[in-house]
Amino acid sequence: MKILVTTKRVTDPGTKIKLKADGSGIAADGVEFKPNPFCENAIEAAISLRDQHGGEVIVVSIGPDEADQTIRSAVAMGCNRAIRIDGNDGGLDGDLVARALAKLAESEQPDVFILGKQAVDGDSNQVGQLMAEYLGWPQATFASAITVTNGGKSAQVAREVDGGIETVEVDFPAVITADLRLNEPRFASLPNIMKAKRTAIEVKTLADLGVETTLKVRTTRFEAPPGRQAGKKVADVADLVQKLRNEAKVL
């Protein structure tokens, strides 16, 4: 089985981000990056499918040089090859990423392309779906379990949907996006970390892939959400009812 899998570096969800004064983006000063957690689920799924059924896993990310570190952590988990498509967050949107990945999928011809269901920075949740559409492949999003069926020609995927689990079967080649409960991503072992440090990352440009770089989404401004206002103390129940009726107007 040949599996393509994505990873993305995102600002560490555990740290407080600051916006640039002019609202043009997030201040890079002192920001730390981590691999997107949903991507780690995707990588774990890809590696364990490879371990069960043989084949190879190729990890791909779109980003600047600095994204290499994130790619290496995926290699350290056990991916066989690594590709970085050179790009900067400012010049990308979900649609361009989907088109670039679709081009890569056309040339690599994997059996299955697994992605995280969304990245925890922009939370767009678009790339997997758009890419499947561009490729004309079936898609199974929000996967919480993947079982390869039909002698490696298809997969049964349990999807987390509102109110329960929906099970679908997709023929390969297919796109699957990973949800958090799909698995518990492994920690890279020390020898694999060292090996990953020495693994060459193949770099491609958007031009190499022949994708049109016009964006469909234009970012006008970043704004922090308004700060939380202080609450009010009420004297008694009558006061509470009065305020709910006259100020909040919910009664």
């Binding site: 000063d29 920690f187 020390l190 060292m194």
Partner: protein, 593 residues
């Protein structure tokens, strides 16, 4: 439960900026690595420790090892964590590549130990003792012994122990009674040992004990002691007549099975001589330095986590008002970090936590540098510094590590005394560090009686030279020169006192110097820490001249304050200790108690 926290910026600051450890990759032995590799491995090992090892600490406060049918059983989650630990292979960081390791510098292994021991002190014993015992076999054993034991012990498949202590032979190890009778291709071991860390567990399929015992016609005392490899299970799979007779009920480190062991109850316990007969102590001491540094690291790891917990608590806990607004009942309530006395406590903790980290990393890097030194004098210089600093790492590290956690409890107030918060558990866990691997009293004797006086004071001279070089280079420093002047005075006091001790020895006054060994070690430790902290301030000032972001600036500015705080408020203790030592007061010797 609060998360596990390590100030990774400080880890990198000490290793990269203060000790320039990236430069060791210029040496042939480590030329396959880059500073980038070191940083990546440390970051990954910290992440692993926080997520996988740390949760076991809560277990260790409620679960206990169980003794059943002469063996020790640990609970299921312990087994899962142990398997993940072995799978990660971080424990093999600095192990010889021929024996399954990565061959990285020992300093990195020491830092990984700091992470581990802060996250879950008890967990470090089974892997740590196997590694330590394997290390002795690797250095002293025959090629066959190395092949039989080392790889399996390093990988965690087998455990290991160091069996020194007996009921009547603790600090006085030469009094031990365990016998080794020459047999056919092996010795027959009989006797019992107590306080054996990681003495047995079902985590591993075998436990390889290194046992100090006395051969039949051996001379009395320490010179008649030999070292034996005594596996729990022999190579042919048969039981080797080693039994756990009891589990020690301890104050802390509950997740470490500390055992009483009985060898040869049925007269059939095989031991294999390691090195020659009557060379046991010498071989044991081979690894004693490393073990003592590891104990100092226990002080660093637990102390630093105690500081992190107290710092976070002090920022979040509101209590009282600013002291200047005390008479105003409507004054806003403030976080306790705003109170001067809490700030004083936090700074004391910070200074020792970071100073100890610097001391332990320095000593660890001296070891790596001694391994790659091409110049014989340079090599000897590092060896001297290691010899002098080892008892300080062990005793000062464990004392101050305890003090830091003690202060952390105070900052938590009544909550700190309760099980709900982690600090009281850390206090019980760190206490052992002052006791084992040679009590802190023994360390003081080692420093004064052996290290300082041996070779006509050569090691001490090397140490003083290390101090003098720093003082000369920084005495005129525009910002920190004043601190250096105070350091120089304290260093001179140390030198003078050391000469006065030599005089006492010459006068055949044996008891008085010994009575003062511990205060001497305290004084010595303060001088070393002051040097390291001022060095950090000097480096911080230099870095602040370059490009820095807000977070870095805050870290570096705090370094300058930390050095000033320590020199003004802790270093004066040197004078107090010196006065006590010079008092000539013999009441402790003369009193009838």
């Amino acid at each position: 439960m609060a998360d596990y926290r390590v100030d990774f910026e400080d880890v990198k600051f000490v290793l990269r900026d203060q000790l320039d450890f990236g430069s060791i990759t210029k040496a042939e032995r480590y030329s396959g690595f880059t500073w980038d590799d070191f940083e990546a491995v440390l970051a990954a090992s910290l992440e692993f420790t926080s997520k996988v090892i740390f949760p076991l600490q809560a277990d260790c406060e409620v679960e206990r090892p169980i003794l059943k049918d002469g063996g020790v059983t640990l609970w299921p989650r312990y087994h899962q964590v142990y398997k993940k630990y072995n799978d990660s292979q971080f424990g093999l960081l600095s192990v010889n590549p021929d024996l399954g390791g990565q061959g990285m510098p020992h300093t990195l292994g020491a830092i990984f130990l700091e992470f581990l021991v802060g996250a879950c002190p008890s967990f470090t014993f089974v892997p740590g003792l196997a590694k330590a015992a394997g290390n002795v076999i690797e250095h002293v054993g025959t090629p066959e012994q190395v092949a039989t034991y080392c790889t399996k012990m390093y990988s965690g498949e087998w455990g290991g122990t160091m069996c020194l202590t007996e009921a009547h032979a603790g600090s006085a190890v030469g009094d031990l009674k365990t016998r080794a009778k020459r047999g056919d291709g092996h010795y027959l071991i009989s006797g019992s040992k107590i306080f054996i860390s990681a003495g047995d567990s079902d985590l591993t399929s075998n436990v390889v004990h290194l046992v100090l015992a006395r051969t039949d016609d051996a001379p009395p005392g320490i010179k008649g002691v030999s070292l034996f490899i005594v596996p729990k299970v022999r190579a042919d799979g048969t039981f080797n007549d080693v039994r756990v007779t009891a589990l020690e009920e301890k104050m802390g480190i509950h997740g470490s099975p500390t055992c009483q062991l009985s060898f040869g109850d049925d007269g059939d316990c095989h031991g294999y001589l390691l090195g020659g007969e009557c060379t046991g102590i010498e071989h044991m001491f081979l690894m004693m330095n490393e073990a003592r540094i590891a104990v100092g690291i226990q002080g660093v790891g637990i102390g630093n986590y105690g500081y992190q917990l107290a710092l976070a608590y002090a920022k979040e806990r509101t209590q009282g008002v600013d002291v200047a607004a005390m008479r105003d009942p409507n004054a806003p309530r403030v976080a306790i970090i705003e109170h001067p006395d809490v700030r004083r406590m936090l700074m004391t903790m910070k200074a020792y936590a970071e100073g100890l980290r610097s001391l332990l990393y320095s000593t660890a890097t001296f070891y790596d540098r001694s391994l790659v030194a091409t110049d014989a004098r340079e090599k000897q210089r590092y060896e001297h510094l290691i010899e002098i600093l080892t008892p300080i790492c062990k005793a000062y590290g464990s004392y101050r590590g305890f003090d830091i956690v003690d202060t952390a409890i105070l900052i938590h107030g009544g909550y700190g005394y309760c099980r709900e918060y982690q600090v009281e558990g850390l206090l019980r866990d760190v206490k052992i560090a002052a006791i084992y691997e040679g009590t802190n009293g023994i360390q003081a004797l080692d420093l004064l009686g052996r290290k300082v006086s041996r070779q006509g004071g050569m090691m001490f001279m090397t140490f003083i030279q290390w101090m003098n070089e720093f003082i000369a280079a920084n005495k005129e420093h525009p910002a920190h020169g004043g601190l250096v002047v105070k350091l120089e005075a304290a260093k001179n006091t140390l030198t003078m006192l050391t000469m006065e001790f030599a005089q006492m020895n010459a006068n055949k006054d044996i008891h008085y110097p010994v009575l003062n060994a511990s205060p001497y070690l305290e004084l010595f430790g303060a001088v070393v820490l002051a040097r390291l902290l001022i060095d950090q301030a000097v480096i911080a000032s230099k870095k602040l001249e370059g490009d820095t972001n807000e977070k870095e600036r805050r870290f570096l500015e705090a370094k300058k304050h930390t050095a000033a705080f320590f020199v003004h408020r802790e270093l004066p203790k040197v004078d107090a200790y010196a006065a006590a030592i010079r008092s000539g007061d013999r009441s402790a010797l003369d009193v009838v108690l």
